[in-house]
Structure formats: structure tokens, C-alpha cells
Symmetry: C2
Subunit: 227 residues, 2 copies
Amino acid sequence: MGINERKEREREHRKEEILDAAQRVFFEKEFTAATVDEIAEAAELSKGTLYLYYKSKEDIYLAVMMRGMEKLYEKLEPISASGSTTIQKLLNFCECYKEYFRSDRRYFRMFHFLQAPHFHKQVSDEMNESCSQLSRKIWSLVVGLLKSGMEEGVFRSDLNPFEVAIILWSSITALLLRADTEIEAWKERLNIDLENVLDVSNDLLFNAIMTDKGRSEYNILIKAGQH
Amino acid sequence: MGINERKEREREHRKEEILDAAQRVFFEKEFTAATVDEIAEAAELSKGTLYLYYKSKEDIYLAVMMRGMEKLYEKLEPISASGSTTIQKLLNFCECYKEYFRSDRRYFRMFHFLQAPHFHKQVSDEMNESCSQLSRKIWSLVVGLLKSGMEEGVFRSDLNPFEVAIILWSSITALLLRADTEIEAWKERLNIDLENVLDVSNDLLFNAIMTDKGRSEYNILIKAGQH
DNA sequence: GTAAATATTGACTATCAGTCATAAATTATA
DNA sequence: TATAATTTATGACTGATAGTCAATATTTAC
């Protein structure tokens, strides 16, 4: 019976079409401002049909956001797999995340909602699970990098790689989320460029987690990058 | 005419009563789950009356949150005014924020909403302004501390105190917000204690922003604190 | 004591997520 | 091919809730 397979394919295709429509809507309006009716209209389907494919508005939102996370993963993974040194990879990771922030800002912006605790109440267990799984994929790239660096002796091995990953990821994401909403305000009020603040923050943290060996390689790369 | 003054006092008093009621509600339920009708019932007033005193649900929420920020300020300010050394003050600031997180968790939890960009759409300009003003008050304590430390030569003076304040505040707040919602998950999954991660993060950043002079004082204090 | 001003009310409106009985379309059976 | 069974789609409806406003009650001024 190829019929069930075809039906399954068609179902997945329809789900993607709904996401295409939802993405157009969520790129224009944030979660609360966007309505399910708008998404249905954009998808040229009735609202009831949407609910045959997704369990809630939050599920649809997360599914679009996961496209964004997947895209970030696709950008980070090749760095991880490349032949660069660990220090170079760390710098590339950060540059890549910043580049993602700049060019895929509408996806990045959706990450704001991951923070809101109430949001997850309406998310189905399956969606939450796929989302965590994808998070962990990205996560493991960072942890992997830190572990390699510790083994090679460029990162301090007295630190816990998971803890350092949390620290780095939290601080970078927090500053980018802040930059997303406040970059103009800081520029005007105190002439501070939040993207530059991120560079300073990274520089402080990188130096702090590196060994002398790591730092010497890092400083050479940094100087080479500044021109 | 003392009547207008009395009326003004009564109006302020009523606003506080509404906040008392709103606080009880928001301490139990997060923003979306709490309803204005519930707050009205808790205040023993009709919903219409609430809107004579506050312009929106968001305004009421922010007003309660500002009580929480005020309370934090009241705890931080004495540290700033004390005769301790700058390094000691920095450590006390962090300990104080962590203590606030633990004992005033319900206020702290409300901070989650400050991040959400859509939230501010419904906030009146006046409320936004009072809120920013209060933020700046807390903010200036941190910046003041950093500036003093730079003058005394315990903090690196090649760094911009405003930028360092953003970095410290962002990273501490981001880790505490994460701890608020994920502390059990990390404990179970990888046996990682997010409160400890905060200590590690602070240690990395503090060392990174200090001069040799600062670090030597810091290390003495840290060792004294560990017993 | 009465008129004007002020404060309060709660029924009403508008909006929107999610549902479900009904209808259309597709597939299986005779 | 005709009909029954199954699957997919619909949109009017429900329930929840933020915010409004004409009507009412209370307080102040004369």
C-alpha cells in the first residue's frame, strides 16, 4: 500500500504550507499581535483545518521558530566539522551567531518567546520534545568544542564544559536579545553600541576560560582579524 | 484648599490598595493567567474602577513589578553607601541579588516580562518612564561602583564602566532568569546547579575586569568567604 | 437643601483561540 | 460504474477576557 505513504507525504507537505503562511505572518507581527485567522487566511485554509495539523497557536509558532533554530544549526555545524583549530572555531561560532542575528533577525527575534515561562503552557508535549531535541543538537556543538579545547589544553580543564557552555550561551544570547530591542536606545542615550559590548563581553569570557596556551593563539588570531 | 490635597492622598491610597490586590493575584498567577476581573474582585472594586486608576492590565503589572524593583534598590543602596571597599561592595551586590532571587522570588519572577518586547506595547508612556527611571537608579549604583573601582585601580580602567555594567547585569540576570525556570531540569539532567554556575560566571567575569591589585584583594576575600 | 462635580458600577462590545456538527472530497467495495 | 465508507475541510459557534461607557451613587459647593 503506497497510499498511506502518499497520504503521509501530503500531510507533511500541507504542514509545511501552513508553516510557510505562519512564517509570513509571524515575521510581520509578534506572537500576540498575530492571529490564527490571519495565518489561516494566508494559508488559504479555514481555521479549523489548521487545528487538524497543529494543536495550538503556540505549536505553530514553535514550529516556525524551529526552522530558525535549524537554520542556525546548519550554519554552526560546518564550523564544528571544519579542520580549524578549536580557538578558531570558537571565534567562528560567535561570528556566525552574530551574523545570524544580523541576517536572520526575524527568526532570531522569535527566540524572545523561549524565555517567557507562561508560553510553554500551551505547547504540546511532542512539540516541546522536538524543540528540546533541536536545542540539544546546537548545545552539543558548543559543549563538544569546549571539551576538545580542554583536552588540547587551550581551555582551562578545571572548568566544567557544560557550565561554561551555559555561561557563554546565556551571556551571548542575553546581549543579542537586548540588542534586538534596545540597540538604538543605548546608542542615543549613552552612545554605546551593544554589538560592540558583545565583543567586549566575549573577549573577557574567552580570556577567562583559556589557558596561557589558548590565549597566545587567541591573541594572534584577534590581531590578525583587526584590520 | 486642603480638599484637593486630601483627594490626591486618597487617590494615591486607592492606587496602593489596588496594587496590594494585584500583587496577591500576580504572585499566584503569571501575567496571562491572571485576569483583571480577579484583581478587581481581590480589590473589592468593580473592573471599571480599576481602569480609572490604571490605564491597562500591563500598567498594573508594571506598577507591582516596580515595587519589586524598589525593594531591590532598597537592599542594594545601603551596600553602595557603606564604608566597604569597592571589591567587597561588588561581592555584596551579587550576594544581595542572589538573596533577593531566593527570598523575593515572586517579585523577581515578574522581571521575565521586562524582556518580552510585545508587552511594552500596552504600557502607558508615563508608566514606561517611571519604570526606566527606577531602572536607571539601580543601574547607576552598579556604574558608580565600577567607576570608583577604576579610579582606585582595582578595576581595569581601559574598560568602559557602562559597558561592563551591561555585561555584568545581563549575565547575572540571564542566569537567574534561567535558574528560575530551569534549575530543577538542569539538576536532574546533568546534575548541574545553576546557582553554582552563576558563581562560576561571576568569578570568571570579576577576574577579567580586575587589575592585579583588585584580584589580590578579591582572592583574599573569596578565600575568607569559603568556610 | 439642592445643584454641580466626582467616583463607581457592571452590563456591554470587540477580539480571538479553539471546537464541532456539517459538508465536501477521496477511497474502497460491489 | 454506482454506492458506501472514510478522510479531509469548513466556518459558525462558544467561552474567555480586556477594555468601555451610559447610568447610578456619592461627595462637594453654594
